[in-house]
């Protein structure tokens, strides 16, 4: 058993240190958590995501105090009680709605930063995988939350997405991939109704946030040993660089401590982000609150256009331009493709995409293709848009098939 100083005052530094190793924890997590110096503002996206998630939790708690998970009351509890009767209820709702949309913009920036700088390989695979897991969880959280106002788009998006779980046509593989009754089991009814709303409410306010918090901790943990990447993808001897820094040779050292040096930059970037964020909350929130969802849910009236929120559009567009079964295969592919990135990229080179030959082309084509898919996913599936969407979806699939070939060549060069 460890030795404890009997004379140490309760809760004094020494007392705490003996019991919780606070000095070590502080060193490991902040003052001697070394971050490369050669970084740009994109390295602050993680912190911005954490802050936005915090805003979502806090605003969510306030909304939860007045929201009614009942098919007859939900719509008015959001649009009348919270938006009109509760003091500052509108502010919490706007923060919640805008944050839910903007958080995905930051997630995509965060993701493509990782892809651009090759931050998913050579020891950083687990960072990438836990990050992708967070993306899936955030998607589920966003979808379940979208059900709660019980407007027309809540209802019909819920209908369309849960329908996907009936599987492939019964004629495929002797019906082995068709799941009769599964959709009804998911919904708790033949159509979205009370049982459906209550279970998505549970998922949104309890189970999913709980799992998300756990995986965020995992995501941070996966980062600690490999350290974050830097702008050139250089391998850094962190022990040596840390020694230089601690000896006062800050100019020569390639690293900085997380706190306060890296943090000061994070906080500055966060400030810029919050200016934009609150501008959106007060003056430009329509993009995050679709007009169709201000019509109450009506199972007898299908809206003219049904589309998901913007952050799901690219994967929706990989499903939509194809007949049912091939569409489902393409959709399933799109969901797992990014997970496989560390294993499909066969090149050991960790460097910015622009310095990686063919991978440079791959990266920019992928980025543009995702934007094209996103826009096509919202346009009505008519005429030219369907063709553009189908081509963009095929390019998406082809890019992932081509990735191992492209990157293998890079190895030889």
């Amino acid at each position: 058993m460890a030795h404890f100083d009997e004379k140490a005052k309760p809760f004094s530094h020494k007392w705490l240190n003996e019991r919780m190793a606070v000095d070590t924890v502080k060193k490991v997590l902040s003052s001697e958590y070394w971050i490369p110096k050669d970084i740009n503002f994109l390295w602050a996206m993680g912190m911005i995501l954490a802050a936005t998630f915090g805003l979502l939790i806090v605003s969510g708690i306030f909304l939860l105090m007045y929201y009614q998970p009942n098919v007859n009351l939900a719509f008015d509890s959001v649009n009348h009680t919270i938006m009109g009767e509760v003091g500052f209820g509108w502010l919490w709702r706007h923060i919640h709605g805008v944050a839910a949309s903007v958080v995905f913009l930051i997630i995509y920036i965060h993701m493509f930063t990782g892809i651009y700088y090759g931050s998913y390989k050579r020891g950083r695979e687990m960072i990438w995988l836990s990050g992708m897991l967070l993306f899936v969880l955030f998607s589920a959280e966003a979808f379940s939350g979208y059900m709660l106002p019980w407007g027309q788009m809540s209802y019909w998006a819920g209908m369309v997405i849960t329908n996907l779980f009936e599987g492939f046509s019964p004629t495929i593989a002797g019906g082995a991939l068709n799941f009769p009754g599964f959709v009804e089991w998911l919904r708790g009814d033949y159509v979205p109704g009370q049982a459906y709303l209550t279970r998505f409410f549970m998922l949104h306010v309890f189970l999913l946030p709980l799992v998300i918090i756990g995986v965020i901790v995992l995501h941070f943990a996966t980062l600690r040993l490999p350290h974050v990447n830097n702008q050139k993808g250089k391998e850094i001897d962190f022990d040596e660089a840390a020694k230089l820094y601690k000896n006062g040779k800050k100019k020569e050292s390639k690293v900085i401590p997380f706190s306060p040096v890296f943090l000061s930059k994070d906080v500055f970037v966060m400030g810029v982000y919050f200016i934009l964020f609150f501008y959106l909350v007060f003056f430009h929130f329509e993009f995050a609150m679709d007009p169709v969802n201000f019509d109450p849910a009506d199972g007898l009236k299908t809206p003219t256009h049904i589309y998901p929120e913007w952050y799901f559009l690219w994967s929706y567009e990989i499903l939509r331009p194809f007949p049912k079964d091939p569409g489902l295969i393409a959709f399933a592919f799109a969901q797992v493709a990014f997970f496989l990135l560390p294993f499909l990229d066969k090149s050991p080179v960790v460097a910015p995409a622009n310095n990686r030959g063919l991978f440079k082309v791959w990266f920019w084509v992928m980025l543009v293709d995702m934007i094209v898919l996103t826009i096509m996913g919202k346009l009505p599936p008519e005429g030219m848009w369907t063709i553009v969407g189908r081509v963009a979806a095929l390019i998406f699939i082809a890019l992932f098939i081509a990735l191992p070939i492209i990157t293998k060549k890079e190895k030889k060069a």
Binding site: K251, S264, F268, G271, V272, F283, F294, W310, K378, P380
Partner: protein, 315 residues
């Protein structure tokens, strides 16, 4: 500087995505309907009319525009107006599917040419003649047998425009122009008006039954219960609302909603009421927003100074 170049790439790509999924996608999803600035001359009706109806509508609106040029006599109009009072008497009794509207402020609410057209043939004027084999079947159709000459119509409209006027509040404008078919539950309004406070549950239930009875009649007349308009100002764009009110058929072909014939000013009043119930936080947003943003501007400046200080020895 490199960071600004990266920022420019991020901002440009985000804006392109935003443009594509918001303004561009919405412009592709909703057909554009040209507004006509609350002038009711029947042009759109004639253009959109079914082939066999073009001639009828052309003749109708041609006559209406002729009547609009006749000078009306207010005193003679007042005498003829007695005919209108048979139904438009404020009794709140449903007649043929709907409660005849109060005409107390009709001169302020409705357009002159539209009133002329309405008295001449209510079904064609309100552009719901597709619902009737004979336009006389319209609940107000009988007016064609009571007010027969162009001069009589001109007189009545002159009277309404001169005497049935007043400065009315947005809520009253909504009640008179929309409230007999559309409820507004956030504003506490049903098809039979403002819901009073009740002393007993029994009283409340009895009132509810009255509302349901009225809704059944409206439903039978319109084909379905017209939607509650509490939050319609968030569900439809401003342009949609304006063109829809001018001519419901332009946005929803075949709808049984009649054209109401509001003037531009009275439409603004109705819209103000819909904003009041549908988007009540607008004033608060505009009051607080700039201060919150100012707070974060100061926050960012301070954070920048802190960052400068922390990084000064590093390069």
């Amino acid at each position: 500087m490199k960071e600004f170049k990266i920022l420019a790439v991020v901002v440009i790509l985000s804006l392109i995505t935003y443009w594509g999924v918001e303004p561009f996608a919405h412009s592709q999803m909703h057909k554009h309907v040209e507004g006509h600035n609350f002038v009711y001359d029947g042009k759109a009706d004639i253009t959109d009319a079914a082939k066999e109806k073009v001639a009828v509508k052309k003749a109708f609106w041609g006559e209406v525009n002729q009547i609009a040029k006749l000078p009306g006599n207010v005193a003679a109009g007042e005498a003829s107006f007695a005919v209108c009072m048979g139904c438009h008497n404020g009794s709140g009794v449903n007649m043929g599917g709907v409660v005849p509207p109060s005409l107390d402020h009709a001169g302020s609410l409705y357009d002159k040419t539209y009133l002329i057209a309405l008295i001449k043939d209510p079904a064609i004027a309100s552009n719901v003649d597709h619902k009737y084999a004979v336009t006389m079947m319209h609940p107000m159709g009988a007016v064609q047998t009571m007010v027969t000459t162009p001069q009589q119509i001109a007189d009545i409209v002159a009277f309404i425009k001169a005497k049935k006027v007043g400065n009315i509040e947005p809520k009253q404008a909504f009640l008179e122009a929309c409230g007999r078919c559309h409820a507004n539950r956030y504003g506490g309004l049903t098809q039979i008006g403002e819901t009073p406070k009740f002393k007993t549950e029994k009283e409340e239930l009895a009132y509810k039954v009255k509302v349901l009875d009225e809704q059944d009649l409206v439903k039978a007349y319109m084909g379905k219960l017209p939607p509650d308009l509490s939050i319609m100002s968030r569900a439809r764009s401003e342009q949609y609302m304006e063109t829809f009110v001018e001519n419901p058929q332009s946005q929803l072909p075949g709808t049984s909603m009649p054209r109401v014939g509001l003037t531009k000013e009275s439409f603004e009043k109705v819209k103000a009421y819909l904003d009041e119930t549908g988007d009540p936080s607008k004033a608060a947003r505009n009051a607080i927003g700039p201060w919150v943003i100012l707070f974060f501007v100061i926050f960012t400046v301070l954070a920048y100074l802190w960052k400068k200080h922390q990084w000064k020895d590093l390069h």
